[in-house]
């Protein structure tokens, strides 16, 4: 003990930083994987986004060029869809957060005394994952269709106009997005709230903070890392989602999002440069929004 006192401060520095080849070997598969399946497609995507049609060529035939007008065309043609995508995604993220926070708080904090209930509720949050994303969305389509009990019931109660629809509207798409991404919001929130030291909440009350003030001054800042990861995990896929907004699912003619536009450009009209430039725009906007958001929430450590 006594000798240990002299050693403090030098002990850590003494550990030699040996250059180990093992670390490099272990990293190699990951690096190769990323290079092959992320970097190469990304470069290919950028190249495609500047391509131009081959003169007198077939539909879907393009040659390498630097046609930056692809981007301005995409923005002027699909500006509405771009805005709609982010509008829907932001709303879905907010609704998912409002729904998930109380749920995660209950599971992670209030239910600590009953581990069985805690586990049961976590299973219930995760259980929908066992069923395909497509199947769940289709199920909602039939639950919310005009002939369903829900809608006929609402109409019978005069809560909905007799000639109104739910599927095919913006509300239906936002509902679908919210529903499908709730587990992605709930689980990171649960993970941080589960570690919340409730003695700090007692301290807040002891220091004259009402429960609501304690919540916003103590609980929310302490669960910020969960909020940030939940928001990112929900917002990013929701902005690019094309299932919920698709006409075969919960969307209609006026609800197409960027994902739908990219899909139809790529698969229907075979306009690869337009699809590629839209994808790049989507990535760029998401990247900017995420960086701004993370900076503002003061959790740069996450990046």
């Amino acid at each position: 003990m006594a000798f240990g006192a002299f050693a403090t401060g030098t002990a850590q520095e003494q550990a030699p930083r040996r250059k180990s080849k093992i670390a490099l070997i272990l990293l190699l598969p990951g690096i190769l994987y990323l290079a092959l399946f992320f970097l190469v497609p990304l470069v290919s995507l950028v190249i495609t986004s500047f391509q131009q049609p081959i003169p007198n060529g077939d539909i879907g035939e393009y040659q390498t060029a630097f046609r930056w007008e692809n981007y301005t065309d995409a923005i002027s043609l699909y500006g509405e869809h771009i805005l709609r995508s982010f509008f829907y995604a932001i709303l879905a993220t907010i609704f998912a957060l409002l729904f998930s926070y109380p749920l995660a708080y209950f599971i992670g904090v209030k239910a600590r005394r009953w581990p069985l209930l805690q586990n049961l509720m976590l299973v219930l949050v995760i259980a929908p994952f066992f069923i395909s994303f497509l199947l769940r969305t289709l199920a909602w389509k039939s639950i919310l269709s005009d002939e369903s009990i829900v809608i006929t019931g609402l109409k019978a109660l005069a809560l909905m106009a007799p000639d109104a629809h739910f599927t095919g509207t913006a509300s239906a798409v936002i509902f679908g997005l919210t529903y499908n991404f709730i587990p992605f919001m709930t689980l990171p929130l649960y993970a941080t709230l589960e570690r919340l030291d409730t003695r700090l909440l007692e301290a807040g009350g002891d220091l004259y903070a009402r429960p609501a003030v304690t919540f916003f001054k103590v609980t929310v800042p302490l669960s910020m890392s969960g909020i940030v990861s939940g928001v990112l995990l929900t917002f990013i896929p929701a902005a690019g989602d094309y299932i919920n907004a698709g006409r075969d699912f919960l969307g209609g003619t006026g609800t197409a999002m960027m994902g739908n536009v990219i899909e139809s450009n790529f698969l229907v009209t075979l306009n690869y440069p337009a699809a590629a430039s839209l994808s790049i725009i989507l990535m760029a906007v998401i990247l900017v929004m995420v960086v701004v958001y993370v900076k503002r929430s003061g959790t740069e450590d996450l990046l």
């Binding site: 003695r199 009350g205 002891d206 220091l207 903070a209």
Partner: protein, 399 residues
């Protein structure tokens, strides 16, 4: 109390008929207690005695099952914690990890909309000599520094009543001594009422004006530290607050000023004024440092109790004093502390000795030894003396 004003001075705390039951056990059986304004009051007891529950009831973190809590004459029993002019220094410190030290200290001031929270927070940090670390985060501080921040965070609000929940438990001995002195001086400076909960008897005795010894959800005895030590009323207090030699026997003689107890044929006399009961089977005791060791047969004297001869079975030297354990046939082990006035220990193990003490120094306990159950819990106060006696009897029979 989000009023925006400090408490003018410390306030009385009054607990009337307080009871707290949790599912399955009773934490506080019945508590009536008055703590006068401006005093430093310590609740002392072993873990699980209900002292922390008492503190949490006063802070408003738990609701009492029955009874009333009055602070400064006002009934606060059903007020929420944030409505009470009470602050707590938590055992775990409970500093907000996402705020700087300064913001932690200013938190309560901001909630009550008190003017110049930052200035007052700096002032409180200067009081605990940590102002230079105001912009650090709590986890960048050492345990002792965090403890001082927790103290500043509570004191800065000038609460009518400051609750301290074993705040020095995590500190090392030297730092604890230093903090004890600091706490005491802060209490004097700001004139608050302090309620300090601890299991460390030395800490309670050095710091508090009044100590209440708690056991099994009740207060066993309450008084100034010196009074408690010199005249414990129960076997629990006699052994929790320092050590005691206890002897149990029937009262065989009574004079106007003293009573005499027969302990296995040996007569022990205690002053009537210092005995809680004067008839039947009672337990009497003497503090080890008041017992002197004699190497020759002492003269019988009515002002002195003498036991012996016995054998020294253990000698442990601790610098300031030496502890001797003397086995006296029929009586049991007697512990003697003797100051090291000369060099080293004078009497060696195995020596034949007599022990003696002045009648005036003895005390008689309130416990009824015959009430004790046959298989008592280790902390059961009433039976410590009986247990000792029984253990010795069986030991002697076996020998």
């Amino acid at each position: 109390m989000a009023s925006g004003a400090f408490a003018e001075s410390g306030a009385d705390l009054e607990l009337v008929g307080l009871k707290k039951r949790f599912p399955g056990f009773t934490a506080i059986e019945q508590l009536d207690l008055t703590i006068p304004a401006g005093s430093f009051f310590a609740l002392l007891g072993p873990s699980g005695c209900g002292k922390t529950t008492t503190l949490r009831l006063v802070a408003g973190l738990e609701e009492p099952t029955e009874g009333t809590i009055l602070i400064g004459g006002k009934d606060v029993t059903h007020l929420k914690p944030y409505q009470r002019q009470v602050n707590t220094v938590f055992q775990s410190y409970a500093l907000f990890p996402h705020m700087t030290v300064l913001e932690n200290v200013a938190f309560g001031l901001r909630r009550r909309k008190i003017s110049d929270p930052v200035g007052k927070a700096h002032e409180a940090l200067r009081l605990v000599e940590l102002d230079h670390l105001a912009l650090r985060k709590p986890q960048q501080l050492s345990g002792g520094q965090q403890q001082r921040v927790a103290l500043a965070r509570a004191v800065v609000n000038r609460p009518a009543l400051l609750l301290l929940d074993e705040p020095l438990g995590a500190l090392d001995l030297k730092l604890r001594r230093q903090m004890q002195l600091e706490l005491k001086s802060i209490q004097g400076e700001v004139g608050l009422t302090f309620l300090h909960v601890t299991h460390d008897q030395e800490e309670a005795m050095t710091m508090a004006d009044t100590v209440a010894v708690m056991n099994k959800g009740r207060i066993e005895q309450l008084g100034a530290p010196a009074d408690l030590y010199e005249l414990p009323r129960t076997a629990f207090v006699a052994n929790f607050l320092g050590q005691s030699n206890l002897f149990t026997g029937d009262v065989v003689g009574t004079t106007s000023t003293s009573i005499t107890v027969d302990v296995e044929g040996v007569k022990i006399t205690v002053p009537k004024a210092r005995a809680q009961r004067h008839a039947g089977e009672i337990t009497v005791g003497i503090r080890p440092e008041k017992v002197s060791l004699l190497t020759s047969v002492p003269d019988q004297d009515s002002a002195t109790n003498t036991l012996g001869p016995g054998r020294v079975v253990d000698v442990s030297f601790s610098g300031v004093s030496t502890q001797y354990i003397i086995a006296i046939p029929g009586i049991g082990n007697v512990v003697v502390f003797s100051q090291n006035l000369g060099f080293g220990s004078v009497i060696s193990e195995g020596a034949e000795v007599w022990v003696a003490w002045q009648v005036d120094h003895g005390f008689g306990l309130e416990d009824d030894p015959s009430d004790a159950s046959r298989f008592p819990a280790d902390t059961d106060t009433a039976t410590i003396a009986v247990q000792k006696k029984r253990a010795l009897m069986s030991e002697l029979e076996g020998a």
